[in-house]
Amino acid sequence: MTFDELLKRGVAFLDGAMGTQLQIKGLQPGEVPELWNLNRPNDVRDIHKTYFDAGADIVYANTFGASPAKYHGDAPLKDVIAAGIGLAREAAGGRGLVALDMGPTGRLLKPAGDFAFDAAYDSFAETVRLGAAAGADLVVVETINDAYELKAALLAAKENCSLPILATVALSEDGKLLTGGDVDCVAEIFNALKPAAAGFNCGLGPDRLRPFVERLAKLIEIPVIVKANAGIPRVVDGCTHFDVGPEAFATDIAACVAAGAAIVGGCCGTTPAHIQAVHNLMKDQKPGAVTRERRTAICSYSKCVTLPLDDSLLIGERINPTGKKKLREAYKSGDTGYILREAIAQVDAGAHILDVNAGVPGIDEPKVLQNTVEAIQSVTDIPLQIDTSDPKALEAALRHYNGKALVNSVNGKEEVMEAVFPIVAKYGGVLVALTLDEDGIPATAEGRVAIAKKIIARGAQYGLKPDDFVIDVLCLAVSADATSVPVILESLRRVHDELGLRTVLGVSNVSFGLPARPLLNATFYALALQAGLTTAIVNPLSVEMMTAYKSWRALTGRDANCTDWIAAVNEGKVGGSAAPTQPSAAAQTPQAGTASSQSPLLAAIVHGLKQDAATIAGGLLATGKAPVEVIDGEIVPALEIVGKGFESGKVFLPQLLMAAEAASSAFEVIRDVLAKSGAQTELRGPIIVATVKGDIHDIGKNIVRALLENYGFKVIDLGRDVAPELIVETAQRENCKLVGLSALMTTTVPFMEETIKQLNAADPSIKTVVGGAVLTAEYAAQIKATWYAKDAMATVRVAEEFFK
């Protein structure tokens, strides 16, 4: 019987716990269970046989930990897996199917942990190849509690065998993965990567899993698996106990089947008696009928975003280098820090999705886009829109994206559809479809709707459904064509109302070439929202755009009790209610070590009042004070007060950092004013900072970077775990003469030494300053660093001296 035939028959039965049974037969804690395939084959075969006897259709071979990443037995992995599959096959005696079982690697993937996605993929791929060669009927990926590892395992299984793949994740008691993904999120990852069946195992008992089974069944089109524990483990008198007996277990499993589960079995604590009871109760049953929820959703590793039809969401536009000089420079110099700050600022401003585009001429777009997507996902949990016209860059980014992404874009050109559809079909995603083709952009709404229909029909040939698309009817500048806006609005209305599809626009294009663009953009945005714009690519930091968006939602009954609107007004995020113009009372009160006669700006900085510092600095400039006077007379002395205070132990690290942030916000205001008048403020630097190769602990480095920046230095932050070669290459390319290196672990100091050696060899004029938990002045001298800095402030002092 094949897997498909099995499912047609009705509910399919899996086996119960393997580990629990091995422990009963004498497996010791810390022992490698898979070695029993070679050393205790009769015991392993017997366990499988009792499960087949109990009614299991599929048993999982004893290969849970048989991956190169996890396995540490003394017999070759190949033999362990081959023996494992062989024993299950012998026990089956022609009765059922044998699955290669793959548990997690036991390692946490980057950026949460230290294990690279590609390394996890390679580990799973090796196990899949060995299992397929050994004759497994199915591949099972189970007990996964991280969305990224799930993706690595599923890709490895899909790309290295042609067997049906079953995938189950382990939920915590709150119904989430370890890394935070809930059932909606997990469902979208299953939808993206399309195993043959998917669901839950381990973690919880069947009673607790039932609501999650019910939810999942509504969200995925493949059969739902539930392989539950016999309750939640309790340790009593040093032994792990599972409380749910066979009959109660079977009753709860039956409830899961009624909720839509099609493949059922047991995990920790279950025995052949549990499977027998389930089989007795559910034999010849069919899974309960489920009404699938029609939706269009994307997700990150922990957050699922459903794209609405009757509301609208914001896609942050600021990580797109078109027309943005600073961002282009950041991409070229590898200054990921700048990009990450743009990402975080947009999330804090209320973006639901972030657009990520790395289209800078002369850079390696596939590599840079992939790295940027990974870096942004390390600091924010909202889903991303991967924005590129290069299919190679799209594939690299989509493969490494943690979740299911929005993809920007495909259009009606045959060549583009042929390149993009297979990638999205393989990795999953929701696709932005631009209504243009070989003949250009149609001048009419009919023409644009027709292209949308054509793209969707063509996508169907690749398995993509209409709900997998968001239609971009294209926003053209009103300055170039006075009739462009009515056509856009009509196109939106027709796509939304007649095709019943979601829409997207890059709103700000409309005002290109005209003055006072923010006002035009905002007015157009409101019109477009009312015409049926369900997602908009906008600048969430623009008060005008947020005002248009939030007022539209409030006025059209989408913001219940106008709660969101009122909150936005109070936070100064929408028009007419910008930040308070009066500094807060706290700025007026003196702090220990400062005199009450201080100017308000100096006091605000010393007290760490960021908003006040910016407001007061703006006020000083408005009353005609020269920028240089503000800097030299107020900001620099304020920083000096806190810096000295910190060095003498009167001011503490959080206060130093808050003061530096306040100074930085005042600087920012002055820089903006100077930029508008055409003058340039020169930052001192650049300084490269990096945590050395092998070390992923970057808290110290991040503090140093922030403080340097707040003190007015230009910093190129290369991140953590940075190879010496990259540091050398960047220093030479950017003509950077001061490099800051950080290390937490003793084991990574040799890489610090190596980096210094390579920097010296490349350019002896490059100086280094080092710091980190394990370093001392002696140690720093020994590895030939130019300076040792005991803390962040000391690094600032080194930089001040260096750039004097």
Binding site: Q28, G30, D114, A586, P654, E661, I699
Partner: protein, 222 residues
């Protein structure tokens, strides 16, 4: 869980200095953010202790599946026939918050770090109260939490300890190549169970051999 503010200030190296109004407000807001991100999980197992000092003066003993030689740990286990193998974590959300703050605000970053460090210790203390109520403990006391890497217990003990607990599956705690745990706000430990005999039941800076520790409590703090 309640945040132990005194501990937070100690990790911020502020000692007994109370924060001013501005820092107080920021601390309170970061505290709320951290509390919203934590998903504590713990797991423990009671195991027997066997072995001890050989006639030749060598120290070799078993704590469950772990073969150990640490003299400092052995001192805490005096009079104990059992010990808990223990692991606990605040979850991966704190690390995500630390990464975000690394690019949002260094001030927030150091506060998240201090607050979450205080919280994991509080959580471990809460777990120990639960462990005390287990029937097998039966009126005995728990000795101080002793973690791999402390004193003369090698950091490499992490691997067998976490494997014995099946920590990845039971609490979501994994080990990196550097032998540090991920999520980073996690604790692994061996905790002796025995009759009250004057042995310390918790860590005491005054008796700790690491005298150059930046977080060593002053006399007033202890």
């Amino acid at each position: 869980m309640e945040v132990d503010r005194a501990e937070v200030l100690r990790y911020l190296r502020m000692g007994n200095v109370q924060p001013d109004a501005v820092l107080e407000a920021r601390l309170a807001s970061v505290e709320r953010e951290v509390l919203a991100k934590i998903r504590p999980a713990a797991y423990w197992q009671l195991v027997p202790i066997t072995g001890g000092e050989t006639p030749t003066g060598e120290l070799t003993y078993q704590v469950g599946p772990l073969a150990l030689h640490s003299r400092k740990l052995w001192e805490t286990l005096k009079g104990c026939r059992h010990a808990f193998l223990f692991c606990a974590t605040l979850g991966a959300g704190v690390d995500a918050l630390l990464r975000t703050c690394g690019h949002r605000s260094a001030a927030d970053l150091v506060m998240v770090q201090a607050i979450s460090t205080a919280l994991i210790e509080t959580y471990c203390d809460d777990c120990q109260i639960q462990m005390l109520s287990e029937p097998a403990v039966c009126g005995e006391t728990l000795r101080m939490r002793f973690s791999p890497g402390y004193g003369d217990l090698p950091l490499e003990t992490q691997r067998p300890l976490l494997m014995a607990l099946d920590s990845a599956r039971r609490a979501g705690i994994t080990l990196m190549d550097t032998m540090l745990m991920m999520p980073s706000k996690s604790v692994s430990a061996i905790i002796g169970v025995g009759p009250a005999n004057g042995q310390p039941t918790r860590h005491d800076c005054r008796t700790c051999g690491k005298t150059d520790c930046a977080f060593r409590k002053t006399e007033e703090e202890t």
